[in-house]
């Protein structure tokens, strides 16, 4: 009976099933991976690749597999030996009783055998320990290696990957999926060996003692395997209903918190509370059901095992009376019954777990196999220093997908120090231009040059170092305001940071914060308005002081006067440097040297404000519609 509990308890360590649920609530938007199919499409291939990835630490797996088999072998031998010990003791006891004296265990009459029994278990324990310690770092080392590959991969993935995939999808591959893999590698593989060997071994040992009793056991074993299957199917459907209820509640709460001001302003607190209460009630009901069914499997199986024990007990008892079975064998048989019951339920669970882990590993490998950006040229060129900032598009062709070309033949020149404005309706493809300039995307034909050098012949880092960029969604990272402003120039002094902040009109705001420039920000920082976030990113770009400046709708959340001031400050800072400005409001760009009018992803007009108005084309129309 002993080794059964040993396994069970160890299994618990790694499978806190009930506690899994909370992940769901924490990241409702990232459902991606959870819903994926849990069956690997190429199990063998994935397993082989994992094996390949484990180069250098594979010996751990081999050693622990061997140790596991030996551990199981010894734990199977122990009950058989205990039968011998008990019978020996019982004989000695009966002999002593027959002679009318008490029996005392000494080395000579049973003690040595008890010690041998102990040694048998100790050897089994030693193999178990070897397995356990050798494996303790295997899975995490492998994971660390794969995570390292992922972090390197993230730097080589083209922007199109990021534009096509939800962040949560990628994150869950690097975290949840790999955790699943390590969990299974840590326990599952060994569990599979343990279960299979134990089941076969125990049944063989049982059959040695009594074929009839073994058959009785097999009947009950089949019944519990069946029960496990039935309940497992039911668990799945209830779990998905719980998931649904949780999803509904999550949606409601998110919505209510985002719309708090409206709820309060219109005095709708009561209705909203009723709503949340109803959803919570629903969740409580389904989750009570799901928790119950999930947890009730094991006592249900245990009930069958107990019935089996009663039947076997009665039959074995009468065999004991008839003298066809010894006391020791009777007890040993019961130990085998419990030893063999556990793997039955374990096996199907373990196989499911293995499948899930392989499917998870497959998703990780799929990420690692994504197409990468072309490597930088072996001998990158650089425009002569100092870079003047002459940017030219020459017959550029481009489309996000080959079957939908956007730019067919775009050419323009931005002379050093010029201000180039990009205008167009929402969705006209203004950011496409930025994507191409920064080589976030590669052109399909033609070329883009800086001071006459084809940007594709430059190293990306050299190219991007020429640009200062303020993007539509203002990204701040977890760190202080000062660190955020100094992002593009980590060595900047505090005074330089403050100067940039002042130039971006954000110094006043920073001072109203309790910790000023040392205020910690996170990317979801809520204490800072969108306008202020943009001002911070402008300060960041200004600190870099690059040859070319890109302002991608940087001013959309800032009112006109602030915008004017910033643009003014920018222009002073960018004296003699080229700048690209994408703006909502035409007021900020009427003085541009060159205006590019975009529509449907391509440039439809170019020229100065006066030229374009005179031309009476798309720009003139846009201008009239805004200011009519």
């Amino acid at each position: 009976m002993a080794s059964d509990e040993r396994d069970k308890a160890a299994a618990l360590r790694k499978a806190p099933d009930g506690i899994e649920g909370e992940r769901v609530g924490a990241a409702p938007a990232d459902g991606g991976a959870e819903g994926d199919s849990e069956v690997p499409s190429d199990a063998m291939g994935t397993a082989r690749r994992l094996w390949e990835s484990a180069r250098g630490i594979r010996w751990r797996l081999v050693v622990s597999a061997i140790a596991t088999v030996l551990y199981v072998a010894f734990s199977l031998a122990a009950p058989a030996y205990s039968a011998y010990v008990v019978d020996l003791v019982w004989r000695n006891v009966q002999e002593s009783f027959a002679q009318g004296r008490d029996y005392v265990v000494t080395m000579e009459n049973g003690g040595r055998q008890i010690l041998t029994f102990f040694s048998l278990w100790t050897v089994s324990w030693a193999f178990y320990s070897v397995q356990s310690f050798v494996m303790s770092s295997f899975a995490e080392r492998l994971n660390l290696r794969l995570r390292g590959l992922i972090s390197a991969k993230l730097g080589r993935l083209p922007l199109s990957y990021y534009d096509r995939h939800q962040p949560g999808d990628t994150i869950s591959r690097a975290t949840n999926d790999l955790d699943k893999v390590s969990e299974v590698l840590q326990r599952g593989v060994m569990q599979l060996i343990i279960s299979a060997v134990t089941l076969v071994g125990a049944v063989v040992m049982m059959a040695r003692y009594s074929v009839v009793l073994t058959l009785v056991f097999c009947c009950f074993a089949a019944a519990s395997a069946l029960l496990t299957k039935v309940v497992a199917a039911r668990t799945l459907s209830i779990a998905s209903r719980r998931q649904e209820a949780l999803g509904t509640l999550t949606g409601k709460v998110e919505e209510a918190y985002s719309g708090r001001a409206v709820i309060k302003a219109f005095g709708r607190e009561g209705d909203s509370l009723d709503d949340i209460r109803a959803c919570s009630e629903d969740l409580a009901r389904t989750s009570a059901q799901a928790d119950f069914v999930t947890n009730a499997i094991s006592p249900a199986i245990r009930f069958l095992t107990r019935l089996c024990q009663v039947v076997v007990g009665l039959m074995a008892g009468s065999m004991l009376i008839a003298g066809r079975l010894s006391v020791g064998v009777f007890q040993a048989f019961f130990q085998y019954v419990t030893q063999a019951t556990e793997p039955l339920t374990q096996l199907s669970l373990t196989v499911n777990m293995l499948q899930g882990a392989l499917a998870a590993a497959e998703r990780v490998f799929a990420l690692l196999d994504e197409d990468e950006v072309e490597p930088d040229p072996a001998e990158p060129e650089l425009p002569a220093s100092p870079v003047r900032g002459r940017v030219a598009f020459e017959h550029v062709r481009f489309g996000y997908s080959p079957d939908r070309p956007l730019m067919r033949d775009v050419s323009f020149v931005a002379e050093p120090g010029q201000k180039v404005a990009i205008v167009g309706a929402t969705g006209a493809g203004k950011t496409t231009l930025v994507n191409l300039l920064m080589r976030f995307y590669e052109v399909d034909g033609g070329r883009i040059t800086i001071d006459g050098v084809d940007t594709r012949r430059m190293a990306r880092s050299d190219l991007r170092a020429q640009f200062g960029m303020v993007l539509q969604d203002s990204w701040l990272f977890e760190g202080t305001i000062e660190q955020n402003i100094a992002y593009g120039r980590p060595g900047a002094t505090h005074d330089e940071v403050v100067a940039a902040a002042k130039a971006a009109h954000v110094d006043f705001f920073v001072h109203t914060l309790p910790k000023g420039y040392q205020t910690m920000l996170s990317n979801e920082a809520e204490e800072i308005s969108q306008g202020q976030r943009q001002l911070l990113t402008i300060a960041r770009a200004m600190l870099v002081d690059p040859a070319i400046l890109i302002l991608d709708e940087a001013t959309s959340s800032v009112d006109t006067r602030t915008e004017q001031a910033i643009v003014h400050a920018m222009e002073t800072a960018m004296e003699g440097r080229t700048s690209f400005v994408i703006a909502h409001r035409l007021s900020t760009i009427v003085d541009a040297d060159l205006i590019l009018v975009m529509d449907h992803g391509t440039i439809v007009e170019q020229g100065s404000h006066a030229q374009l108005l005179a031309a009476g084309g798309a720009y003139a129309e846009l201008y009239q519609s805004q200011f009519a």
Binding site: M1, E5, R6, A9, E22, S82, Y103, V105, G111, I114, F117, W121, W125, S129, S132, F133, R141, R147, S151, L154, I171, T250, G251, E255, G259, R260, A261, F266, I276, A284, A288, D291, F292, P299, A300, F303, R306, Q309, V310, G313, L314, S318, L320, I321, F330, Q331, L471, W475, F477, E478, Y487, T512, P514, E526, E527, V544, S557, D559, R561, F627
Partner: protein, 606 residues
Amino acid sequence: MSAGERDVEAEVATASIGREGRRAALALFRELVAPYKWLVAGMVVTLLCDIVGMLYIPTELAALVNTAIAARDADALAGHGVSMLVAAVVGSGGCIASYYLASKFAANVGRDLRVRVYQKSLELAHSDFEQFGTGSMITRTLSDANVVQQMLLMGFIMMGPVPVTCVVAILLAFGVDPVMGRLLVAVTLVILVIFGLAVWRSAPIFVMLQSFIDRMNVRLREYITGVRVIRAFGRESRERERLDSTFESYADRAIRVNLVFSTCDCATFFLMNVVESTILWVGADRVGAHAMQIGSISALIEYAMLIMFFMMMAQFAILQMPRGLACLSRAAQVLSATPVILDPEVPAELPSGDDVPAEVARFDHVSFRFGDADEDTLHNLDFALRRGEVTAVIGNTGSGKSTIAKMLLRFHDATGGRLLFLGRDVRDVSQHELRDRISYVPQRAWLFSGTIAQNLRDGDTKATDERLWHALDVAQASFVHELPDGLDARVSQGGTNFSGGQRQRLAIARALVRKADLYVFDDSFSALDFKTDAALRHALSGELEGAATLLIAQRVSTIRGADQIVVLDEGRLAGVGKHDELVRTCPTYRAIVESQQMEGGEADGE
């Protein structure tokens, strides 16, 4: 240890909840459990059945062996068989019943916690809520409650059996033989000490491991959402290092946890061997001394193994407890927060009917400063909103325009001076009554999932369809006419299935459905094009004649016709008056006008 790691260690240290937090968590726990006394009693009773049944089976099996070899009586065997059957039914039945009750109990507590946190969130003022942050509030309402729920369930299933098993098993052992009973007591105490040590050693690492998992998620999200910026500034290698160091610290901690677990596992395994062999040895002696029978040895071994098994489970469950407690204490923080804005004990009544004064609201030398900021956001504002008049507020981003609207709704309270509404200090009336008299269009138009009609009726639950259509027409939301389902058209969460401009007009319509003394438009026109803006203002002027209107705006064209324009400059009043007057006298206003004049000839009129 890298700098990044040190950051995390520090964070973990501050994140651990401390004595105060633990006390709050436990107090909340008692409160949550209190309503379910009977359910808990039921759980205890069924658990008792479970354990007694479980332990009775090896006891009866031993008795069966003993009878078989001593009495050789087949009928007596059957008797033991029946007892075992009863024990199996009572035990498994009790176990299943206890799981049923426990699942229900945990789910109910989880529900209560969610509802309570949500209810509290409704009582909190703006600044209270922002202290927690929307993201954190969502976590506290949903996943924290989930963790607590699972902690209760797992705690019961995994820890509940320990004391019961120890007591019952020891009693049964004493029943077999007092010497064996004492042996079992000794074994139990030894295991208790060893497991106690193991938990004490591993709990802190385990808690830390959790925070490292969170850390990986945060870092990855940051990287992915910021990939353009990272590449633009050429910081790929630095970000990769940051990621790698996060991964490394996690792996490091995870391996340490695994090692602690392996040590524990192996120690337990070894302990089991020692215990089994000892019981065999001592048991054989006792059998030899006529103190007990041979069959009972295996029953005693089974008792010891069960005690050890349940303690091991409990050990695992205990490791999860700190997390559960942390979640509870976070929820407790919300529940114990005192809203900075409270209703007066005896609220004053707002005048109604003919008593209503012409001056709807007055800012009487009002200043406002955020919690721990060292400068006022609004400083010494002094102006009035009058019935039948449109008051406009214009100023820079961050000049405190929106704060004015929020103060009227009493989302914020003045930190200096006073704000009068219909002649009463807003702090003297109930928030509900105050807001009942105001209709508000927020800066960010937010709609709730449901139908258009449901959203509009948030303004006034009793409004007829005609009123809704009228409001829509005034708000220039005629596009609703063209929707196949009209008023019953679906609105998705936040209203994202409508464009920004449409959402804004629906929000305006919602405000118009309500009959109010004051209409507040917080920058509600900026998402509209100039033509719609103009048409809307025209339609509104007839609609809002009997009420005061506050118009917060960025475009001069939106507000130039206002009866009174309030110009804000970094939170101070730079000027109050009509457009023409301000253009002459107020430099700040003139600068704004000039900055916008370049936007074509709009200053020449619409």
